[in-house]
């Protein structure tokens, strides 16, 4: 299999060409911008939380295929989940991408699709592209949990 096929395997391309949960939420519980200055990836994440559950999540993004696909899959994975469950999903994903660089990891059934992003681990410079939406979501959850009245922060990958 060529690297192209691996990195851009169908799942990623599908999410890249048809990103899920695109758009804005008019009155979100919180809104966070994420940027990766090195490659210019930018996204805005809108999160609507009710009764500790993710009622709605939307993204607008300008970035590379990895960034777009990762964000799209993330919204799919956490929509409808409780905050606690969403945090677990974030942790498992980041563990897969950051802590087990050497070998492939299998994720719980509800996250299987995200395994497609493991191909990115072979390209260390691009791991950040995959991680940006997740760090942005982490911040959004923090905002909601802290009942942050400002409700708008920025996450910058360094």
């Amino acid at each position: 299999m060529s690297l192209s096929d691996e990195l851009y395997r169908e799942t990623i391309l599908d999410h890249y060409h048809h990103p899920r949960n695109r758009g804005v939420i008019e009155k979100p519980s919180t809104l966070v911008e994420g940027v990766n200055p090195l490659c210019g990836d930018e996204l805005t994440l809108y999160l609507q939380v009710e009764d500790s559950k993710i009622k709605d999540i939307k993204l607008t993004a300008k970035g590379c295929s990895i960034n777009t696909a990762s964000g799209s899959m993330m919204t799919d994975a956490v929509l409808g989940q409780s905050i606690a469950e969403a945090q677990k999903i974030i942790d498992s994903f980041k563990h897969m991408m950051l802590e087990s660089r050497e070998k492939d990891v299998s994720l719980p059934e509800n996250m299987e699709e995200l395994e497609a992003l493991q191909g990115v681990k072979k390209y260390p410079v691009r791991i950040k592209c995959a991680i940006l939406p997740w760090n942005t979501l982490t911040q959004a959850i923090k905002n909601v949990s802290a009942n942050n009245s400002e409700k708008s922060t920025k996450v910058e990958m360094s």
């Binding site: 048809h18 490659c39 210019g40 590379c64 295929s65 592209c129």
Partner: protein
């Protein structure tokens, strides 16, 4: 065109494979590949005459000093300088520019003075001046660019004024490939009593260069972009200017005598070469210059004009027949006004994605902001993809670039509205 079949035999790396494909190296603006003559010169030094320079009274040290100083002579002739004392070895072009900013700059730039730059400067010909301006209270002014990435000379006439102390401009843009009218800018600067620094990092490797024709006061460049090893840069400046400049770094080699509380600086050029220099790589840089001299810089330039004309025709044809308006090329469309550096974008596809798909096909290009973030902002893009040529590149490789681009468009094109 140069005899690339023969030339390629001297570059061992060009026969390697990448991802199961033949390597097509089109990232020469970042760094060039090295011929075997340069690689051998490094190991020859370490195997046969490794010793410190300018110090030992023994045969090895004499041989090393002679070889080291020979490179200085070769570089003097290469840029048509008058005197090898005007050639200072540094770590890279960036270090050469910093040397000027912090030695000449601190001694000569005061609050209210103006430093004129262009928006197409590499960070290394921008950030040192920002630092100097912050420290001294000087002002930075930026020339304007035309649509096709050339310096608007009307703005030069306007901005280079009575308060201008220094103009610092690249000889050739590492993004647009634009070759700037340095001599004309020099006349404007000198008419105002200002000095002109030329960033030759892209120009010197690709264009026959004479400091007299450029009429500049400082010229900085890096050997690694012109067949030499990494770790060697050159600063050339007029002798009177260098003599008046205070030393930049203190230490061994840069002194003629030292007392407990004072020192006397060494003569040029050693006054600016504190500490043990990068002996092996300076010597190997001599082999790089000899290699380029053998080919002849005029022939290098003509080869690249041919490749550029060919690439320009493919850009025009491909956007007509394959990619519509998606393929956007930046910079001048006239091969005589540009070098072989082609920055482009493909629709909404992120440059990193283009770079990745091309790499999978063995084609090495650069993708990103090319150390020109302000320029990317001006173009309104996060970055560009960039292909850049040198003496060993062929028209077939340019063809491969476009084949790979069509593949990228096939895989990543048609992005839905985001």
């Amino acid at each position: 065109m140069l005899n690339t079949n023969e030339i390629r035999k001297d570059f061992p790396i060009l026969s390697r494979e990448v991802n199961g494909k033949k390597l097509i190296y089109l990232d020469n603006a970042a760094t060039s590949q090295k011929p075997i003559q340069v690689i051998d010169a490094i190991s020859d030094y370490y195997k046969r005459y490794n010793a410190n320079v300018h110090r030992g009274i023994h045969t090895l040290s004499e041989e090393a000093t002679t070889a080291y100083e020979e490179t200085r002579e070769l570089i003097t002739d290469f840029i048509k300088a008058d005197d090898s004392k005007e050639i200072i070895f540094t770590a890279n072009a960036t270090a050469a520019i910093n040397l000027v900013a912090f030695s000449w700059g601190k001694a000569n730039i005061k609050k209210g003075d103006e430093i004129v730059l262009s928006p197409m400067e590499h960070h290394s010909n921008l950030v040192p001046w920002q630092m100097l301006a912050k420290e001294t209270g000087a002002k930075l002014l930026f020339l304007e660019l035309t649509e096709d990435g050339q310096i608007d000379m009307e703005s030069a006439k306007e901005w280079i004024g009575p308060h201008t102390k220094l103009v610092a401009i690249t000889q050739m843009s590492n993004v647009f490939g634009t070759i700037n009218p340095i001599a004309e800018i020099a006349k404007l600067a000198h008419a105002r009593g200002a000095l002109l620094l030329v960033d030759g990092a892209q120009g010197v490797p690709h264009i026959p260069t004479s400091v007299h024709e450029l009429q500049c006061d400082f010229l900085a460049f890096s050997m690694h972009k012109m067949l030499g090893p990494t770790g060697v840069g050159v600063l050339w400046a007029k002798r009177e200017i260098l003599e008046a400049m205070p030393p930049f770094m203190g230490g061994g080699d840069m002194i003629s005598s030292v007392k407990l509380t004072s020192f006397t600086a060494n003569e040029l050029p050693w006054k600016f070469e504190a500490g043990t220099p990068n002996i092996a790589d300076v010597i190997a840089s001599g082999a790089a210059i000899t290699y380029l001299n053998k080919i002849g810089m005029q022939a290098v330039r003509e080869h690249e004009i041919e490749l550029s004309k060919y690439a320009l025709s493919l850009f025009a044809e491909t956007s007509k027949n394959g990619m519509g308006d998606d393929l956007v090329l930046y910079g001048p469309l006239d091969a005589s006004k540009r070098g072989g550096v082609f920055s482009f974008n493909l629709g909404d596809i992120h440059p990193h994605d283009i770079g990745q798909i091309l790499s999978d096909q063995g084609v090495a290009i650069r993708a990103g902001h090319h150390c020109c973030q302000p320029l990317m902002n001006e173009l309104g893009v996060p970055g560009t993809a960039r292909a850049s040529f040198y003496i060993y590149n062929t028209k077939e490789e340019v063809d491969m670039l476009f084949t790979a681009l069509k593949e990228a468009k096939k895989v990543l094109g048609h992005v839905s509205i985001r």
